[in-house]
């Protein structure tokens, strides 16, 4: 028995935990949970929990359907909202095949594999996402979308509801070992942002899974619906998940070079070059919903062009300005991601793209100096555009060796098949937009 497993067993006993939730993630990034009683925990640590994976999206093919959930004892947490009435705990799991080898359909294992690869090259991957989301009066899709603080300039009470929610959420996150950097009201009505403190990517991906759950749960308790849908409202900005990232080597920020104008090392420049070079191939994963592209196309805060700049909201990669005496803070910000992505897979692909840039010594294209306000100006500047639809993104991904290698055959194929089916059913759907425009006119 590993010491961390012993710690979990003792704590479960001492704190009278009644239920242990084993957590994992399907291929699209939906949360899955199996609850077991503490009495079973020791056995599950030793042998894993066997279950039929064929019912989980993107897991098993029918002929090899049984898999094992192996709890990662270092992720054990007591659930802060269940402290008194029914103490419960959570543990994230890795999924294995019955022979103990990593299961190819498990997104957490995919990220582990990509991180290990970067580690073999001497790098640790640190990330910090800015999580944006909307508080809505309800989650009913048949009625118009109504932000909870739509009237925030006039109605102090509704504005308070949202800031109370955010405060409670922040406390809950801290209790779950998820440190918050900032939180504030975003530009759009009902839109809020909570920025997480940077940490190693696997821990952060776990944190994002918890984050989405906590935000929605706290909101639900107050009869508010929180959504991470990228673009719930017309005419105002959507929700992104701008992610700050840096590679570290031997406890030094490998992105920092004091002699460079922006403090960027060669490693950083090659990493950026890698993400730009492969950006179109990985967008289907960083932006996996049909709705994701409504955000990317809105011309507001979201990036549309495969470019980089020090300070330019329309570029894909931004270099935040840092103080010269703070080498640790040198980082890049990848702005395409939205909060409805699967963080394990999205981080895997961005890292793989960046590492490719380093391994192959990609040359970084010049900084975008002009404001790219439309496709023509981008084309004139020789800058590519991000895919404008899920369909286009899937075509790019399908042709990508990098995506196939980083995700592994199993997830690569399933993801394409599943997202294509989604696109097909959307293509057949007659929208309100069409009815409004065409019904009377034609």
């Amino acid at each position: 028995m590993e010491p961390q497993e012993n710690y979990v067993l003792r704590t479960v006993e001492e704190r009278g935990v009644r239920l242990v939730r084993l957590w994992f993630t399907d291929v699209l990034g939906q949360h899955k949970s199996v609850a077991i009683s503490p009495a079973e925990l020791e056995k599950v640590f030793e042998e894993g929990l066997q279950f039929d994976g064929s019912s989980i999206d993107g897991f098993s093919r029918v002929q090899e359907s049984d898999v094992l959930a192996r709890p990662d004892a270092r992720t054990f947490e007591l659930l802060p909202w269940a402290r008194d009435d029914e103490p419960s705990a959570l543990i994230f799991c890795d999924i294995q095949r019955l022979d103990g080898s990593p299961f190819a359909g498990d997104p957490r294992q995919v990220l582990r594999r990509n991180l290990t690869r970067a580690h073999q090259a001497g790098f640790t991957f640190n990330v910090a996402p800015e999580m944006e989301f909307f508080y809505l009066n309800d989650g009913d899709s048949r009625t118009p979308v109504e932000p909870v603080d739509n009237a925030s300039y006039f109605d102090l009470t509704t504005a308070d509801v949202a800031s109370d929610l955010r405060k409670t959420t922040q406390h809950m996150l801290e209790a779950l070992s998820i440190p918050v950097e900032y939180s504030f009201h975003e530009d759009a009505p009902g839109q809020h942002e909570i920025d997480l403190q940077y940490t190693e990517a696997l821990a952060m991906a776990d944190s994002i899974m918890m984050f989405r759950l906590v935000v929605r749960k706290i909101a639900m308790e107050r009869d508010v619906h929180a959504t991470f849908m990228p673009k719930p409202l017309d005419g105002v900005q959507g929700s992104g998940m701008h992610t700050h990232m840096s590679l570290w080597r031997d406890d030094e920020n490998a992105f920092h070079d004091p002699d460079h104008e922006y403090g960027l090392s060669t490693v950083a420049q090659q990493f950026i070059a890698g993400t730009l070079h492969h950006a179109r191939e990985i967008t289907a994963v960083t932006n996996q919903l049909i709705n994701s592209y409504k955000r990317l196309n809105d011309g507001l805060e979201a990036p549309r062009y495969v470019s980089w700049a020090r300070n330019n909201q329309s570029t894909l990669v931004r270099i935040p300005v840092t103080k010269p005496n703070k080498p640790d803070a040198t980082r890049i910000e990848y702005r395409a991601l939205d909060p409805a992505c699967n963080p394990y897979l999205a981080f895997s692909l961005i890292l793989a793209a960046g590492m490719k840039g380093i391994e192959e010594g990609y040359e970084l294209q010049p900084e975008t100096q002009v404001n790219l306000f439309d496709r023509q100006s981008a084309a004139d500047a020789g800058v590519a555009t991000l895919p404008r639809s899920l369909d286009e993104a899937l075509n790019e991904m399908e042709a990508s060796e990098l995506a196939q290698e980083a995700l592994g055959e199993h997830i690569f194929e399933w993801f394409l098949r599943n997202r294509r089916a989604e696109w097909e059913s959307y293509s057949r759907h007659v929208t309100q937009f069409e009815l409004d425009r065409y019904l009377r006119q034609w």
Binding site: V8, R10, T11, R15, L115, T124, N126, S177, T199, E200
Partner: protein, 227 residues
Amino acid sequence: MNNPTILVHPAPMGSSLTKVLDVLRCEWKAVSDASAAQTLEPPGGWSGAVITVDGNPEMAFRIAKWLRSREDAASATLMLVSAEALPELADNTEHFDDFCLMPFHPAELEARLEHMLQRFDGDGDTAIISFGPLSLNVETYQAVVDGRSLDLTYMEYELLRFLASQPGKVFSREILLSEVWGYDYYGGARTVDVHIRRLRSKLGEEHASLIATVRSVGYRLGTANWS
């Protein structure tokens, strides 16, 4: 209640040390090297160690290091050192808990040993590490501040336990990483900062300052040893 068993190096040991250990009702075994330390370890584990630096400093610290590296390293280590060999300690501060200058005064050594053993493992059954409002039960892995149980992850607990086992002592991120996480972990020293931040948050505003940041050095629990 078992008497604590103390590791003594080198073997054979001096008679003045024997007297001190007898007064303290300690069992003791003298070992000459790290492998003997391993083979002679009693079933309940070493409760503490008295290691003489002079003569063979390298071996002395090898044994001290081994004591620290064990899984349930709840033993306290005291180094005996002459004034001439004192500089040897500077490079190895993370491997021992206390030291005493040779030739030692029996009363001083006795007091130091007693204090050190109490802090680590009073009666061999339960080990409570206390510091101010904070207390950790090493047996049950529970941490309490002001009577309130802390909900900690394993690594948060281990880090707090390590800091609390030597209050007032400053540990660098590198030391914390290697001692608490082990070398196989690849989160980097940043991991330490992240966990310190989490611990402070869980200790609550009132007690967050129990863990102090020592600029460009590292972290310590409580105020400095010599202030």
